[in-house]
Assembly symmetry: D2
Homo-oligomer: 255 residues x 4
C-alpha cells in the first residue's frame, strides 16, 4: 500500500499523460497500467478552455488521483502560480513540484524547488517535489514536510534508467516519506531495479507513451512494479565473486 499524505493507493506506478499517439491509446495504456495516480503538465492541459478537447474527459476521474506538475516553471514563483491554477480547478490538491534549471538536461533547480515546496506546503498542498538524487537535498525537503520525494533516475525522457543506485538507496534508507523514482526510466527492468532498491513507487511517462506499443509497455511496467516490489520484500541472495553450486553432488552414490 502506497500512502501519500492522506491518500492510499494499491498501485505503485504513477503514469504521465504526455505525448501519446492519441487519446485512445492513452486511455487504454492508463487502464492497462492499473495506475491510480496520473500526472500531467498543467500548462499543457486545456482544462481551463472548455472549447478544447482534453484527455480528462476520456477518463473516469473517480478512479484516479490527479497529480498536476509544474513543468515549464523555472522559478519557485512560477511553480506556485501553476500549482494554484491547477488546484483552482477543483480537481486536485496534490502537486508535483517541477522547477527546471536547465533546458538541455531538464534537471531541477534545488533552491527554487525547495522554495516552491515550502510555499506550497504553507498553502495546504500535498507536495511531491521532483528532485535530483542529491541525498541531503532529499533530506532537507523531507524535513520541510513534503509528502513524498521524487528523485530522478536520469534526465527526463532520456531512457537511461537508474544511473546512481547508491544515491537512490541512501535516499530510501533515510526516508520517512515515500520515495518515488521519477524520470529517466526506459524499460521494465529499470522499474524493477528501482523497486528492488526499496523505492515506494515509480513515475514514468515517455517510456510508455514513446514505446512502439504503448499499451503493451504499460502492462510491462505494471508487472515490473510488482516483480520489483516482491523481489524487494522477498530478500535477494547476496552477490558473490565465485560460484556456488545449486546442485551439490558431494557424497552422491551415482556415476
Amino acid at each position: 500500500m502506497l500512502k501519500i499524505g492522506p491518500y492510499e493507493f494499491q498501485s505503485r506506478l504513477l503514469l504521465g499523460t504526455g505525448k501519446y499517439p492519441n487519446f485512445d491509446v492513452q486511455k487504454e495504456a492508463v487502464e492497462v497500467s492499473e495506475s491510480e495516480i496520473l500526472t500531467f503538465a498543467v500548462r499543457r492541459m486545456n482544462i481551463f478552455e472548455a472549447s478544447q478537447p482534453n484527455f480528462l474527459e476520456k477518463l473516469d476521474l473517480t478512479r484516479y488521483k490527479l497529480l498536476p506538475n509544474t513543468a515549464g516553471a523555472t522559478t519557485a514563483k512560477e511553480a506556485v502560480h501553476i500549482a494554484k491554477l491547477a488546484k483552482a480547478s477543483g480537481l486536485c490538491d496534490m502537486v508535483k513540484v517541477e522547477v527546471i534549471g536547465c533546458q538541455k538536461t531538464l534537471l531541477p533547480d534545488p533552491f527554487e524547488t525547495y522554495k516552491a515546496s515550502e510555499e506550497l506546503l504553507k498553502e495546504g498542498f500535498i507536495v511531491l517535489p521532483y528532485t535530483s538524487d542529491d541525498v541531503l537535498l532529499a533530506k532537507r525537503l523531507q524535513e520541510l514536510g513534503v509528502h513524498a520525494i521524487m528523485p530522478g533516475a536520469s534526465p527526463i525522457g532520456s531512457g537511461q534508467g537508474i544511473i546512481n543506485p547508491l544515491n537512490l538507496s541512501f535516499i530510501i534508507e533515510q526516508a520517512t516519506v515515500p520515495v518515488i523514482v521519477d524520470a529517466g526510466i526506459g524499460t521494465p527492468s529499470d522499474v524493477a531495479i528501482a523497486m528492488e532498491l526499496g523505492a515506494d513507487g515509480v513515475l514514468l511517462n515517455t517510456a510508455v507513451s514513446g514505446a512502439a506499443d504503448p499499451v503493451k509497455m504499460a502492462e510491462a511496467m505494471k508487472l515490473a512494479i510488482q516483480a520489483g516490489r516482491l523481489g524487494y520484500e522477498a530478500g535477494r541472495i547476496a552477490k558473490k565473486r565465485y560460484a556456488t553450486a545449486s546442485s551439490p553432488t558431494e557424497g552422491m552414490s551415482i556415476g
Copy 2:
C-alpha cells in the same frame, strides 16, 4: 510460446530444484512460479533409491517437463553417462548438458560440452547445453543441432546478474534455436534485462531457493519474465544523452 524440440511451453521461466529449505517450500515455489520445466541434478536425486524421499513424489509430474542436468560431470563421458541414467528412468528425454571445467567458478568447459552435446544428440536426446557467453561457441553448438542454447549470465549461484549483455544479444541475434539465459541471476530485474534483450527464457535456481522468502521470490520471477518479455515486444524508447520533455509547454497560454 516457448518451443524446445517437440515441446511447447506457456511459461518462459525454467526453475531449478536445488537447495530449498524443505520440500514444502520447494513445492509452493514451483507452483507459484508457474514454471513448466523443472531442472535438477541427476546425481543429487534419489530417483534410483526407492527408499529415500524425493521431491518428485511431491509433484504432479503430468504438469511439468523434467530437465535433468549433468552437474558433477567434468568430462563429456561423465555427462553422457549421467544423461543416460536420467533417461533410463523413463521420466525425461531432455537434458541440460553441464560439464564444469573449474570448481571455483563452475564455468563450463567448451570442448567437453561440445563433445557431450554431439554424443547426446546422436543418442536422441533433446539437448540444451549450458555454455559461456562465447558467441561463436554458441553458434557452433547451434550448428551441431542442439535444441536450445543456455549461456550463463555470470557464475552459478553468484547472483551477479548479466555481466555481458552485448554477448547475450549477439547470441540472440544469431540464434535459430531458443536462447535461455542460465546461471548468475540474482533479482527480478536481472530476469527482466535478459528478456528485454530478446532471450526466449531464463533458468534460475539459487535466486529463488536462496531468497529470504523463496515463494515470494518465485512469484517475483514469474512476473519479471512477463514484464521483460512484454517490454521486449513493446519496443523500448531509444536512450538519449539529453532530456526530452514529456510535458512540452511551448506556445501554452497559461502562466
Copy 3:
C-alpha cells in the same frame, strides 16, 4: 595548466594529507605525486599548537599551495569559522568548503555549502566547494562566484569511483570555472575516467594513503592524471556496437 583564482598549477592532481602510515611515507608520496596543491583538515592539524609535530614542518612550503578543508563542519557557520582559523595562520587563502550533512555517507549539505561559500567569498577567500554531482547546484555555486567546483564521484573514502559520469560531464559542459572531481576515487582508472570526461583536476586522499604501497600509488595517480588528460585532448574513438577491423584484408593478394 590548471588555474584556480589567481594561481596556476602544472599538476592537475590535488592530494589529501590524511591517514598516511607515517610522515615519511606521506612526504615521499607527496613528492612522487608531483601535486602542487595539498589539502588537509584544519581541525586535524596541530598548526596552532607549536609543541606538536606537524606534517607541514616536513614539507618545503614554497613548493605547495595549501588547501585547508572545513571537514568536521555541519553548518555554514562552523565552516566559516574553521576557514578563518586556517587563513589566520597566514599559510593560505584558499579553502575547500566541506559541510557534511550526514555522518554515514559524509555527503555534503547543499544549503549550508552554498551559504558558507557565499560568506567566504565575501571574506575574500579563494573558494572551492565540495558538492554532490547535482548539476544545478554546481551551476548556482558557479554563479555565486566560487573559484572551482568539486563534485564528489562517490562517498568519501569509499573507493567506488565515478558512479554518475553523466552528471559529471554535464557539470563540466556548463562550467566556467575548473571542475575538480573530489571524493570516492579508488584507482588510477577512476582518475583517468574523470580526466577523460574533461575534468580539470582530481582531488584524492584515501586512494593513496590507504593503498598497500602509498608511494607507488601516488606515482600511479600522477600518471593516470596525465594519461586521462592526454586521452581527453587526443579525442577518443566513438563507441560502436559491432566490430570494425583494424586489419582490413579486402583486395589483399596473399592467402
Copy 4:
C-alpha cells in the same frame, strides 16, 4: 618485465599498425608509445612485394619485435598458412592467432583458434591466440602450450572497453602465461582497468590510430599502462558502501 616465450620486454603495450592517417603519424605514434611489440595483418602488408611502400621500411626493426596476426583467416588452415608466410619472411617467429568466426562481430572461433594454435606450436612458433574471455577456453589454450593468452575486452575496434572484468580476472587468476588484453579498448582508462585487474599487457590499435590525435593518444596509452600496472602493484583500497573520513576530527581541540 613482460616475458613472452624467450623474449623480454620493458613495455607492456602492444601496438597495432593498421589504419593510421599516414606512415609518418604511424611512425611517430609507435615511437611515442614506447611499444616494443608491433602487430600487423600479414595479409595487409606488402612485405612480399618489394615494389610497394611498406611501413616496416620506416621503422628501425632492431628495436621492435614483430607480431604478425592472421586476420582474414576464418579457419585454422588459413591461419596456419598466413602464419607460415609471415615466418618465411625471416622477420618474426611470433604469431597472433586470429581466426574470426563472424564478420559482424569479428569474434574468434574457439575451435579453429585452438586447432591453429596447436598446429603452430608444433611448427615451433611463439603462439599468442586472440580469444574470447571464455575462462575455460583460455585454460585449455594454456594447457596446449601457447605462450600468452589474448582475451578480447569487447569487439575489435568497437571502443567499448572491458565489458566483463570478472572473466578477465578469472583468466588472470588461473594464468601460467602472460594475459594480454586485446581488442575493444577505447580509452586510457580502459587500459588502466585491464592492468589494474592484473593483466600482463594490452594490445590495441584503433584506439590510437582512430583517435583525433593518434600521437597524443599513443602517449596517453603508454602512461595508462604504467598507471594501471603501478596501481595493481600498489594494492588498491577496498570498496565500501559507506563513507570513511580521510580527515578524522574526533577529539580535535579547535572549532
